[in-house]
């Protein structure tokens, strides 16, 4: 048998039909659904008299629109258009008989945090969702990617996607990370090296000692941003940490089925002599705590660097960099750690898990945020929130002057009331620094939870290692 990559193995196990030209019907094991990209898909089913083919494999949760302040179970506390979208998801979940976690349920949260938490996401699966950060689930060795609403309707109706296979890219992070360097710094540094289009046409497998050393939470952070590098999906081969994380989750297999699953899961790795279309290697020791300076996730620099100038770039990037500098209100040559901020946002599907909150709380313990600064923590799910309260993290955040919010996407994409005002500058643990992403005219610097916590204390972009 010819050697295969992990991606090859998962792909081959899910091809339900292959046409002569290589166009495949890929069977989908888990379909996650949220309120923003699904209403038109359900409406499409109604208009054509179609049903959901596999409601037991379809899981819905409202996350993008929902307020993160108390009283949100009452639709009157949402804007009218948000309430309509959430109500539509309620209705669609009931009418089509799919699994559902409403805002009133403690298990509600960001769809990419809820899936793994509830054991819906398991190694070797195909997972899709009408959201680009579906790549997150690749941390389990699941082939997971975002789809558009037409494809959401296609999966609802047929439990398959029309796909052609991507190419294989290996991203190896060798060695150990230095203190203060986290999964977020890895994933941003990879995008800084490849560019936001570097992964287009590929599925990335992240490997190497530094990846093996990460917790499942850290691996989810790394895979989450595979899409920001342009890749269809990011993958990490499952190992004992993965199995340990999955075991006992509500929807993970039990007993003999667990054993059978483990027999297969243990075969899910890239063969030694598998062929790669591209290989990128970074040394873990070379990765520093990083921040973004511009309006593309590829605009990554170590916190010890200075704001670049447009002339530092080539081709189309010259104009784009100048546009970014103008939008971000930054002067070339300014040390990044002198850039003052107004807002700190800790949360999102990238960094809203318990380990992220622990990392931020470790920096904030016994300290206060800078006066005048707005700071909020938005846990990724109700269960993360409950655990953080139990561990005393919530008290640390509150004593530091942070708002302690309910679960949702919140200021990552600012569809709910959590938004930046024009010109406000935010240290954010989310995934996109695009123009207007966190609010029209808002300025976003992406970084790790520990770096965001450090910035909250000093009121400027800060090297977390100074506070460790």
């Amino acid at each position: 048998m010819s050697p295969k990559t992990l991606y090859d193995k998962i792909w081959d196990a899910h091809v339900a039909h292959e046409a002569d030209d290589g166009t495949c019907l890929l069977y989908i094991d888990r379909h996650l659904v949220h309120e923003v990209t699904s209403p038109q898909a359900f409406e499409g089913l109604r208009m054509t008299g179609r049903s959901v083919r596999a409601p037991d494999k379809t899981i819905a949760v409202p996350d993008h629109n929902v307020p993160t302040t108390p009283g949100r179970e009452n639709p009157e506390n949402m804007t009218e258009d948000s309430a309509i979208q959430v109500a539509a998801l309620d209705t669609n979940a009931k009418e089509f008989g799919i699994h559902y976690y409403p805002v009133s349920d403690v298990r509600q949260g960001i769809v990419h945090i809820v899936g793994p938490e509830q054991g819906w996401t398991l190694p070797g699966m195909t997972v899709v969702c009408g959201d680009s950060h579906t790549a997150t689930h690749g941390a389990f060795g699941a082939l997971a990617h975002g789809i558009g609403t037409s494809e959401v309707e296609h999966v609802l109706a047929t439990q398959t996607l029309i796909q052609k296979k991507s190419k294989n890219m290996k991203v190896e992070i060798t060695g150990k990370l230095r203190p203060g360097v986290t999964a977020k710094d890895i994933t941003l540094s990879v995008i800084g090296a490849t560019g936001t289009a570097g992964g287009t046409g590929y599925v990335i497998e992240y490997c190497g000692e530094a990846i093996r050393d990460l917790s499942m939470e850290g691996r989810m952070t790394v895979c989450n941003m595979a899409i920001e590098g342009g890749a269809r999906a990011g993958l990490i081969a499952p190992d004992e940490k993965t199995f340990e994380y999955c075991k006992g989750r509500p929807h993970a297999p039990k007993g003999a089925q667990w054993e059978a699953a483990m027999d297969w899961w243990k075969t899910l790795y890239s063969d030694d002599d598998a062929a790669w279309d591209m290989v990128i290697t970074l040394r873990g020791e070379d990765i520093a705590p990083v921040v973004t300076w511009g309006t593309s996730p590829e605009d990554v620099l170590p916190i010890t660097a200075n704001v670049p100038s447009a002339e530092d770039f080539d081709g189309g990037k010259v104009g784009a960099a100048q546009r970014s500098l103008d939008y971000m209100g930054l002067t070339p040559g300014t040390p990044l750690n002198e850039v003052e901020i107004d807002t700190v946002f800790i949360g999102s599907c990238t960094n809203g898990r318990i380990e992220d909150l622990r990392a931020a709380a470790a920096i904030l313990k016994g300290k206060k945020k800078k006066d005048g600064l707005r700071a909020m923590v938005v846990p990724g799910s109700g269960l993360v929130r409950a655990q953080a309260e139990e561990e005393g993290l919530a008290d640390i955040f509150k004593e530091a002057g942070f708002e302690w919010r309910l679960a949702g996407c919140s200021m990552c994409l600012a569809m709910n009331p959590d938004q930046l005002q024009p010109g406000e500058r935010c240290a954010a643990t989310s995934n996109r620094n695009f123009e207007g992403r966190q609010g029209r005219g808002g300025r976003t610097h992406l970084m790790s939870p520990a770096m965001a916590a450090a910035a909250a204390i000093t009121g400027r972009l800060t090297d977390v290692r100074e506070l460790m």
């Binding site: 179609r50 309509i84 680009s132 037409s150 052609k164 287009t200 899409i227 269809r232 089925q257 992403r437």
Partner: protein, 201 residues
């Protein structure tokens, strides 16, 4: 889905790389539960000021380009969010074809589901088309999907590649779901096998 066969129209030049889907349609317009009506908000934050007035410098606000049916853009067009609201807004504005050196994967797929043709060409060819687009309303570009060619206003012809299956669907306005349902027997059989080999799924 609307068919795409040939198109002759005005091309709007947008020589910016990494035009992301937040730029194409900002999040405040994702609260709709419909697919229609988003054209007025296409490129909203680049197109209108804080008071909702048109920003005169923005290409689609210039008289020459108000009726554009093609966009010529920089590398990695459509990166970011999977929101299909982006192609919905593009289509609703009246644009049926986007030409760029490369496209983000999900946006590229979404275009084909909505009767929009995304064409990737080498940078130097996009540069020529960009110059042609900059000539304004009198310089109409032609796209022929069947022949897989673009003809500039000067008559220069460029060939492009397109996936054969996607081309077939676009030229005939075919509904993906209908096509897949014709293969229901394959899906049934896959499910039956998987129920034995991976019963925990």
């Amino acid at each position: 889905m609307d068919k795409f066969t040939t198109l002759t129209g005005i091309a709007a030049p947008m020589p910016l790389i990494n035009i992301d889907t937040d730029m194409i349609i900002p999040k405040q317009f994702l609260k709709t539960i419909k697919r229609s009506g988003l054209g007025v908000n296409l490129f909203d934050e680049m197109r209108y000021d804080d008071d909702g007035n048109e920003i005169p410098d923005f290409v689609l606000n210039k008289d020459a380009y108000r009726d554009a049916e093609i966009i010529v853009a920089g590398d990695n067009f459509g990166c970011g969010s999977s929101r299909e609201h982006a192609p919905w807004a593009i289509k609703d504005f009246g644009i049926r074809c986007v030409i760029a050196p490369s496209f983000a994967d999900i946006f590229h797929n979404n275009c084909f589901k909505n009767g929009i043709l995304p064409i990737a060409l080498p940078q130097e060819q996009v540069d020529v088309l960009m110059k042609d687009a900059e000539k304004g309303a009198n310089a109409r570009m032609s796209v022929d999907l069947d022949a897989q060619t673009i003809t500039t206003s000067d008559g220069e012809v460029f060939s492009f590649e397109v996936d054969a299956f996607k081309k077939h669907c676009l030229m005939n306005g075919l509904d993906d779901i209908g096509l897949t349902m014709e293969k229901a027997a394959s899906i049934d059989s896959f499910e039956a096998t998987a129920a034995q080999s991976r019963p925990w799924v």
